[in-house]
Symmetry: C2
Subunit: 198 residues, 2 copies
Amino acid sequence: MTRVQAGLTREGIVEAALHIVDGQGLRRLTMRRLGDALGVEAMAVYHHFPRGKDQLLDAMIEHVAAPPRPPAEGDWEQRLRTWAQAYRVKLLEHAGALPLLFTRPVPEAVAFPSLEGRLAAFTEAGLDEEAILDAAHALAAYVLGHVILEVQAEAPGQPPTPPPDGRHPHLARLRPRETARTWDGRFTAGLDAVLPTR
Amino acid sequence: MTRVQAGLTREGIVEAALHIVDGQGLRRLTMRRLGDALGVEAMAVYHHFPRGKDQLLDAMIEHVAAPPRPPAEGDWEQRLRTWAQAYRVKLLEHAGALPLLFTRPVPEAVAFPSLEGRLAAFTEAGLDEEAILDAAHALAAYVLGHVILEVQAEAPGQPPTPPPDGRHPHLARLRPRETARTWDGRFTAGLDAVLPTR
DNA sequence: TGATCGTACTTTACTATGTAAAGGCGGTGG
DNA sequence: CCACCGCCTTTACATAGTAAAGTACGATCA
């Protein structure tokens, strides 16, 4: 039996793991399944992630939720809008892995380059120091929260709800418009509110 | 052996489960541990949640993430601020259960009374129909996203990061102010941005 | 060339977990 | 007194993470 070096790498393992999560959900990401996907025994992964599955999940969230850097071109508002849209898209690419966001923080070192760019943009907007920090926080929170709502809505398993009746007049009035609204439209409209007015 | 009726109820089971999650984390919520906490065998839970752990988790998120109803008193802005603060506090009470937010939506029927109240407030603010929906979405997203950030920051295990250096001048300048900012202060400041200007 | 050794994997084995299936026990209505 | 039902227990099994020890391959050095 010629034993071939499988040539595992941390990156390759993380990508295979994300592929499983995307296709079958976090629940079904197991060391054995991951090994199978890589053509290797489960325990082989421990050579690259000695702390086991926990460390693997750390690496996954770092890959999935690392905020991108804002573009260098454009005025501050355009750069922030582009950043927000890019981060939203990136997060949605691996929606199945996002529960990890509540479990483990993205390492600061990974977030810093992105944050620096956002702070620069808000500085250009002419805000004072406190306002810069608050605006950056509001924007990041909005993007993350939007993604929660979009993921929830896109997921299956929402039991059909009886249409809002007389006890919920506002809801009843607005419901058709609400179901017609795209997630993209909602996201952009929310950005208008969250970004400082010029 | 006198076998005593344990008198389990769905509510009691959910509360015991949340108690375990609060104290030991989602990972350590197991059917056996839950049984022990209730003075019962693991399988007893299945009588009340026939679909098993999955159904239990559904019930937990419904309990933890059901948005409160805005107060009836006060002007629209005050009601929305109070609502946002209350929801934030409620979510943080069971931060350990929040990863479930990405897995399962809060049933619409549970969210409707709260949403109705928020829509009423935004209507009072004088927005047109589309703007009402967008503002409600932005507010909800902001609260949820803020909670992600607050939970992440409050959790242990953030590896100590070298202070930002010359490559991150804005970060370096703003860092002291950032670490001094309270989460409450940040949250409130973000609300100012997200709520429509009168 | 052959001995030595570290790296990258495999084997084996153990404990924990979710849950199907079937069993038992006490109370209730006939 | 008996049959039934609601609530819980017992038993059993497939699957999970992972510790510990084993094995093969290539590089390094004598």
